[in-house]
Amino acid sequence: MEAFAYANPSTLNGAVSLLGSKWGETAILAGGTDLISLMKDHGDTPARVVNIKGIDVLRHIEEENGGYRIGALVTFDEFLAHGIAKTFPSLAEAARGVSSPQIRNVGTVGGDLLQRPRCWYYRGGFGLLARDEKGHSLVPNGDNRYHAIFGNEGPAYFVSPSSFAPALVTLGAKVTLHGPSGRREIGIEELFVTPKAEGEREHSIHPNEILTEISIPSSAREWRNATYEVRQKEALDWPLATASVALKMDGDKITAARVVLGHVAPVPWRSHAAEQVLEGKSLSEATAARAGEAAVRGAKPLSQNGYKVQLARVAVKRALLAAKEGA
């Protein structure tokens, strides 16, 4: 890890004022499990680090008009201990999927959304777009077993690593970003972008902004929801594919559906095709299977990750069946 200057502000505006206007100048430290590791691997070499954990206003979980506002510094552990975890089993399952208490104790919901991809070429020093000296991506002809099967036309092939994001998308969540000129709120889907060139990020947040809050609308309570993660190990392990679903039901009938896949694309990957299959149907094993099938239609696996198509298909089916059981 290279040397850096450090600040520990206790107010949000104080923190924002410390941030640089270009990526790489300043880094925001919350739980640190990703940032510190990345800095040790020289994946991020900020000259300055702003620890935002002193900003107490970012640690709330607050009910408001039937919805929830979740401070960015709420840890996985705090989230799971709160009643919200019961309201939204899809988020709780995503949180439990981080099967290390040590990470759940410090890892924050904000950090989960903004953590960097685990692509081994990126982590191995070849940049986010995994390019060799000649500018060619190493992924298509390399070992891409953990890479994207959707949204992988290039130059980005990594997968979004966030645990919470797919579920938050299904719940219609928004995130609040604070910058020098105030705050803005964007839909969670808009937070995630696919970089088109080296130097671009996979998040739409600006370098001098802080993600402060996640809000879940009251209407989300009306959606039955679940997450299914395909993880090889019970111990700490990255999912190979995940699916989060939210269903609006009228009796047995699905009136509206949201289906979002994780770990399959550079962004949380929403499947409108699967949603269409579900809408107007009752939720049976056969419907769930058809939705899984629809969800992976159009997947373009790379040379070594065809198996992830099957995992995504099954994740959707099982998430739907879990949502049914959770009723």
């Binding site: 070429y121 190493l138 090889q232 019970e234 990255w238």
Partner: protein, 707 residues
């Protein structure tokens, strides 16, 4: 003198369940490993290594690094003009005041390379081409062509195990400190007696000027026999700086260069008569262990099939070179042989237990052991109830299956020397320059000494882990327990006999009439005639007794069997395999400490689950880099991943009387095979190679399994 192990009815400590002596040091966190040695004035060492898998080093410039804050010494480890053969090759070592300073300085070392073509894959010899392959001798036994012609059932298949690493939790490395022309090295080593000479030679001092200290060490598994280039460099840095230096490998370096288990893949053809009698074997195997050609694995494994043709091709790759990995070659040969035999049994429609039994006659001298162990394992596992023909016919995506494997290992005693001393005040100690890798060596030595002296365990001081004590063999190949236990037995019997000589007159007996039991020296058959141990020792006057002992073939033996059975649940929709249960039935002659012996077997099963399902060293042909030199994607099984494990040690007549035999390797041989066989039983198709990752399981199912 009678050195024989005491008979079962007289053993007080041997064969009991005794907690390891260094347990409290470890679980309190207070014991100091090499990584933990903080000497006064300590500097931190670090190495700069090649990012290229094959390149010529054209220029090394350390001038900027030398000027960095805190830097006290720089050592070139790899000369300009020489070719690097794997990414991770150490080029320059530096020492500075803090870990961060040495890291900063390392970043300023400028090394120029002329890149050369590299090759890092082992999928097939054809893909590698002539430049990267070397055909080793082809060996034919009997008449395989005729035998295959006469065969009633023949099976062909491909089996294999990919490259894995040792991933010792304490990385390789050491602390080196000079005192004049004497060097002390706190090294994480499996070879306390052996590496002093090697490091001494590297720094130009005789081996007797190098003291190696290793009271405890954080895992070796076969990768820590050598002093290594970093050992020499660390001593050089310490010499230059005039201060002690600690240089431990970073995790990425550890996984890149500090040891790998070679891959072995094989195309196998195997044939039998309808009744299951094995008659012919043919295999072409290949694998890589880095740039050098490893020896050909002697396939087939355990079963000496009468007619065979065996060919092996070494694939030469630019990856960190192989080191002995717990039971070298055996796990790979086991997964290949037991997999092929299991598939053949399925084709024959035979229960594998019956099929294996049918062919025990060609397993050699351990046939009877296997027979007894098969019986015991079947009973503990409830095999008859759990086994079903290939393919779980139940509904739902989760398929259950069971598998069987058998294995063997030598485990003959290494050459060790022990010195035993009885002091006039009654204190007793045994000393030898062996090492405890976490297997219980210290505890075994104490048990043997205390048993011989008739004393409680805590009355004997055990001095090990320092090269100043009598030389002992390296700990590898399951050779340690035989070496140290027999040497200790001989030394302590000799010492106590000297004590008998001293005290016999005062007991009105001859020394051969005496025995040391229950803290007393007494006349056999007349316990009233006795002295307490302390009273007896007081008769020594001012001079302690010291006796020495060497490894004895009379007290030890070699060659063990071992049977394992596994049950798995395979999710056929995700390809995820969960181990439900493994039963391991293992013999190792006379068991000194049942508790630590069982732990060895549990540990082997868990390591086996890891290599069967999770761990794999992944190389990238484009960059020549290892893709997963970390513990995030170099996956180890966690506590929730290993299922229920049952261990049974074979003891009693027929086992105890063989003497002591090593145990570390044999139980780690079968898990890959037994889990692979259980998966095949569950889903009706073979998943190869191991580890059986979701993608490999799904691919196998797609090719023709029952989903």
């Amino acid at each position: 003198m009678d050195y024989k192990w005491p008979p079962a009815d007289q053993r007080v400590l041997i064969g009991k369940r005794i907690s390891r002596l260094d347990g409290p040091w470890k679980s309190s966190g207070r014991v100091k490993y090499s990584y933990d040695i903080n000497r006064p004035g300590l500097l931190y060492g670090r190495m700069v290594f090649s990012p290229h898998a094959h390149a010529k080093v054209t220029k090394i410039d350390t001038s900027e690094a030398e000027k960095m804050p805190g830097v006290k010494a720089v050592q070139i480890m790899f000369p300009e003009g020489k070719e690097v053969l794997w990414a991770g090759q150490e080029i320059v070592a530096l020492a500075a005041e803090t870990e961060d300073q040495v890291r900063d300085a390392a970043a300023k070392v400028r090394i120029e390379y002329q890149q050369l073509p590299h090759f890092v894959l082992d999928e097939s010899p054809d893909k590698a081409g002539a430049q990267y392959t070397k055909d080793l001798t082809e060996k034919t036994t009997g008449d395989p062509a005729t035998a295959f012609g006469q065969a009633e059932v023949t099976h062909q298949g491909r089996y294999g195990a990919t490259v894995i690493t040792h991933c010792c939790l304490e990385s390789h490395g050491q602390v080196a400190e000079w005192n004049g022309d004497s060097l002390t090295v706190w090294a994480s080593t499996q070879n306390v007696s052996g590496i002093g000479g090697e490091i001494g030679q590297g720094v130009g001092v005789p081996g007797n000027k190098v003291e190696v200290i290793t009271p405890v060490m954080g895992g070796g598994f076969g990768s820590k026999f050598a002093g290594d280039a970093w050992g020499v460099a660390c001593a050089q840095l310490a010499k230059k700086a005039g201060r002690p230096v600690k240089m431990m490998l970073e995790r990425d370096q550890e996984l890149m260069v500090a040891g790998a288990r070679p891959s072995i893949h094989a195309d196998v053809k195997v044939a039998a008569k309808k009744d299951g009698t094995l008659i012919a074997w043919d295999s072409h195997s290949w694998g890589t262990g880095g740039p050098a050609a490893p020896g050909a694995p002697p396939l087939p494994y355990v079963f000496k099939i009468p007619n065979s043709r065996v060919k092996h091709t070494a694939v030469l790759t630019n990856i960190g070179p192989e080191r002995a990995w717990r039971a070298p070659n055996h796990p790979q040969m086991c997964v290949i042989t037991m997999g092929a035999l299991d598939d053949l049994a399925a084709k024959l429609g035979m229960d594998p237990v019956d099929f294996f039994r049918k062919n025990l006659g060609i397993t050699g001298e351990r046939a009877k052991t296997y027979d007894e162990e098969l019986t015991k394992a079947s009973e503990l596992f409830d095999w008859k109830k759990k086994w079903h023909p290939r393919g779980d016919s139940g509904s739902g995506p989760i398929k259950r299956g069971v598998g069987l494997s058998i294995h063997t290992w030598g485990g003959a005693a290494n050459n060790s020397n022990c010195s035993a001393t009885i002091h006039p005040d009654g204190s007793a100690e045994v000393s030898m320059a062996t090492q405890d890798l976490g297997v219980g060596t210290r505890t075994v030595v104490a048990i043997v000494a205390a048993e011989t002296f008739g004393l409680p365990l805590e009355a004997v001081t055990v001095n090990i882990g320092d090269s100043k004590y009598p030389a002992a063999g390296a700990s590898g190949g399951s050779t340690t327990v035989g070496g140290v236990s027999s040497a200790t037995r001989r030394a302590t019997v000799a010492a106590v006999n000297e004590l008998f000589d001293k005290v016999a007159p005062s007991l009105g007996a001859t020394s051969d009439q005496l025995e040391a039991v229950g803290g007393q020296i007494r006349v056999k058959g007349d316990p009233a005639k006795s002295l307490s141990w302390k009273q007896a020792c007081a008769k020594l006057g001012a001079t302690p007794i010291t006796a020495t002992g060497k490894t004895s073939r009379d007290l030890t033996s070699a060659n063990v069997g071992g049977v394992q059975m596994a049950e798995v649940a395979v999710d056929t929709e995700t390809g995820i395999v969960r181990v439900q249960k493994i039963v391991a039935v293992q013999d190792c002659g006379l068991v000194i400490d049942v508790k630590t012996a069982e732990s060895q077997v549990y540990g082997a099963l868990i390591m086996g689950v890891t290599y069967a399902l999770y761990e794999e060293k992944l190389m990238d042909q484009q960059t020549g880099h290892c893709l997963n030199p970390n513990m995030e994607f170099y996956k180890l099984a966690g506590i929730g991943d290993v299922g229920e494990l049952v261990v049974h040690m074979m003891t009693g007549p027929g086992y105890d009387d063989r003497g002591v035999i090593g145990l570390g390797e044999p139980p780690v041989v079968s898990p890959g095979a037994v889990i692979s066989n259980a998966v095949a039983n569950a889903i009706g198709v073979r998943v190869s190679p191991i580890p059986m990752t979701p993608e490999r399981v799904l691919a196998a199912l797609a090719k023709g399994g029952q989903a």
